[in-house]
Structure formats: structure tokens, C-alpha cells
Amino acid sequence: MSAPALETVGLGKSYGRRWALTDCTLSIPAGHVVGLVGPNGAGKTTLLHLAVGLLRPSAGTIAVLGETPHDDPAALARIGFLAQDSPAYSRLTVAQHLQMGAWLNPSWDAGFANARVVDLGFDVRQRAGSLSGGQRAQLALTLAVAKRPELLLLDEPVASLDPLARREFLQTLMEVVAEHGVSVVMSSHLIADLERVCDYLVVLVSGQVALTGDVETLLASHHRLVGPRRDDLSMPANQSVIEASHVGKQSTLLVRTDDPILDPAWSVTPVNLDDVVLAYMRQARDGAAAAAPGLAVAR
């Protein structure tokens, strides 16, 4: 059994007095394409920066592929990272980017990088500054993949791309996964995209893990229940209500359970990833809002 792609125990990161990430405990097995979702400011970028050694934990520990990312160049050689907005050196040409990649990375796959650039139809003499957003993202992905990492970390790689460039980026990414079996963790707000490409999910809200697990298992264990209004939600012990809304004579619940729902009053329908992610985001947000006044009174 290989080491988990990403493992954190009680991980926290504070910027001054503000905690961007608190008590984050995760274990993501290798060999997955992981979607990292959550509202803006939830700690997604902070988690990725901790994973790639750009930040040091303020609390707890983080291990990437079984190693500590900060202060360990050998560990970093096994990780590919694509920062938000796919930065490139605008004055350097495409060819110079590849040359730099070859100098800086001991395991550089020049064959792959050169072939990829031809496939993409790039003129290698072109400066990166004159590439379109989609081309720059493809160049950055090519560089990150050509170092032959075991784990690719992508921070909102498709957020600023048009639909066609987004699709092409994900096609390339999935081809790389199929060919080289690299593990991927990518943050995104586009759940429809994640539903296609991800088989593992992490939902972060307000610096904490709200939900994590294998996508197929998560979808199979969540259900939407619609039935006659029921304001007291005393559900069987094996069912937890993630979200409930009541309108007129009807109640609609989103429930998590591994067992069949036997109560005939409910009509049960399956949910998609969007439903699940939004329910956990709202639950975490409303939970925080409910807790805040209590804190104020306690002071």
C-alpha cells in the first residue's frame, strides 16, 4: 500500500490572529483525482500552499506522499504545482520555459514537453506574455506534468478560462492521469466539471473540513426525501439530516445514511454532487452563524 497522497492531522494555519485553516484532518489515498471545493476564503489555497511547502503549518502536521513538504527538496521533486491563474514568465518564450524546466527538474521529460507543445500548436519562439489565457494554462500544465510528479496540485486551474479552453485543459489533464497514473488535487468552483473528472471530494468551509470521501460512496449515501411536513426532525439514529426545508404542507430533506430509508411517508430520490456540496456549504455556514451569537453572549 503506497503512502496517502495527502495526509493532515490537526493541521492549522494562522495569518496573525486570523486562522485560515483550523484542525484539518484528512487522509486522501493515492491514485485519485480529488476535487477541493468551498466558498472563497475557505482555506483551499492555504491548504494547497501548505501541501507544496510554500507555507509552514501553525499547528498540526501535513505529509504529502508520506513526506514533509517544507524543507525537503526531495519531497518537492515528487509534487507538481500549478498556482492560481497559471502564472508564466511573460518575457520568456515557450522554448525558454521548457529549457528552464529541464534545468530545474532532475526528472524532466523533454520528450513529453516537446511533443505536447507541438500538439498544442505553439510557436516555441512566442513569448508567454502573448499567449491567450487558455494557452498559458496549457503551457503551465505542460511544465507541471513534464517534471513527472506523482502528485499534481492545481489551484483553480480553469477558473479564468472560456468553456472551450476549460474543456481542452481538462481533456489534457485526464489524458495525463490515464497515461501516467498521477494523483491530482484540484480546487474549483465549477462542480459540473468536478463531477466529470473527480472521484474524490473534499469540502472546506471556514477553514474546516465539512465533508470528505470517495464521490461514488458520497452520492450513494445521500438522498433527497420529500414528504408531508414534519417540523420535529426525529429521524432514525442511522440517518442524519444535512439540510431541511419546509414549505406549506411539505418537507424536503437531504439525508445521509448508508441504510435503506424505510419510512413510506418519504419519496426518496438520488442527489447529484452539486446538491451534496451546496448542502454541506450551507450547513457549515448556518452552523457558524448560529454559534456566533452564543459566543458574543458568553463574553
Binding site: 481533456q171 485526464m174 489524458e175 490515464a178 463531477e195 466529470r196 473528472v197 472521484d199
Partner: protein
């Protein structure tokens, strides 16, 4: 060779859509024993989906005895499904159309008709299971 496509709005799991498309191609005679399915790499490069999704669909098809993976060569069709007879298909379509017209004449809208159809379909096939 067939080319897969996806309907994200259908609510049907991606791997199930792939399995269904192979079933349909077999029923229509577009795939025959000996034909090769696209490789996982080709499918993900086309659809931008997780490679495990393709492998899962192919494993399901293999379990049904419809395809066999030959290491290093690809996944090949080895089974067949009964071809739908176009004449009987047309006959059922005609009788359905006349039923739909009478339902509409009785004042039923498309949604009500669909609800009736879905319930009847479920009842009909759950009789078999029970």
C-alpha cells in the same frame, strides 16, 4: 469503433451512460464481436472524464460477458445482444402514438402522461423482479 458522448443533464451516472451506449450499439448492430472499444485514454481525451469511470464501465461490460480486455491490445467485443427488430419497434411506436393521442384528447398534459408512463413502466418491470 464507436464514439461515446455524454448528457450531463440526464442525471444518469457517467459510467452507466457509457455502458448503455455500448448496449445500444450492440442492439443496433453498430458493434459486433471482434470490434475494439476505444481505449480509456481515447475516451478521457474526448470527454474529459476520470479514467476510472471508463474502466468501471468496461469492467461492467466484461462482467456481462459482452467485452473482454486483452492486455496490451485493447478491449474487444465478444458477446452480442438481441437485435431489436425494426418492424416490431415501429408497430409498438404506432400503438403508443395512438394511446398518447387518446390521452391528450382526454385532457392530459405531457407531465401527467409522463408520470403515468413512468409508474406503469416501473410496475411492469418490478413484476418480473418480484
Amino acid at each position: 469503433m464507436i464514439e461515446f458522448h455524454l448528457d450531463p443533464a440526464s442525471g444518469v451516472a457517467t459510467y452507466v451512460q457509457l455502458v448503455q451506449q455500448v448496449h445500444q450499439a450492440l442492439q443496433l448492430g453498430l458493434l459486433e464481436p471482434g470490434d475494439r472499444l476505444p481505449t480509456a485514454q481515447q475516451v478521457v481525451a474526448l470527454l474529459a472524464i476520470n479514467p476510472n469511470t471508463v474502466l468501471k464501465a468496461y469492467r461492467d461490460l466484461e462482467r456481462e460477458g459482452l467485452v473482454r480486455a486483452r492486455p496490451g491490445l485493447g478491449t474487444f467485443v465478444v458477446g452480442t445482444l438481441p437485435r431489436t427488430d425494426p418492424v416490431s419497434q415501429a408497430r409498438f411506436r404506432r400503438s403508443m402514438a395512438s394511446w398518447l393521442r387518446s390521452a391528450r384528447a382526454a385532457g392530459l398534459g405531457p407531465q401527467e402522461i409522463e408520470a403515468i408512463y413512468r409508474t406503469a413502466l416501473r410496475d411492469c418491470f418490478s413484476e418480473d423482479v418480484a
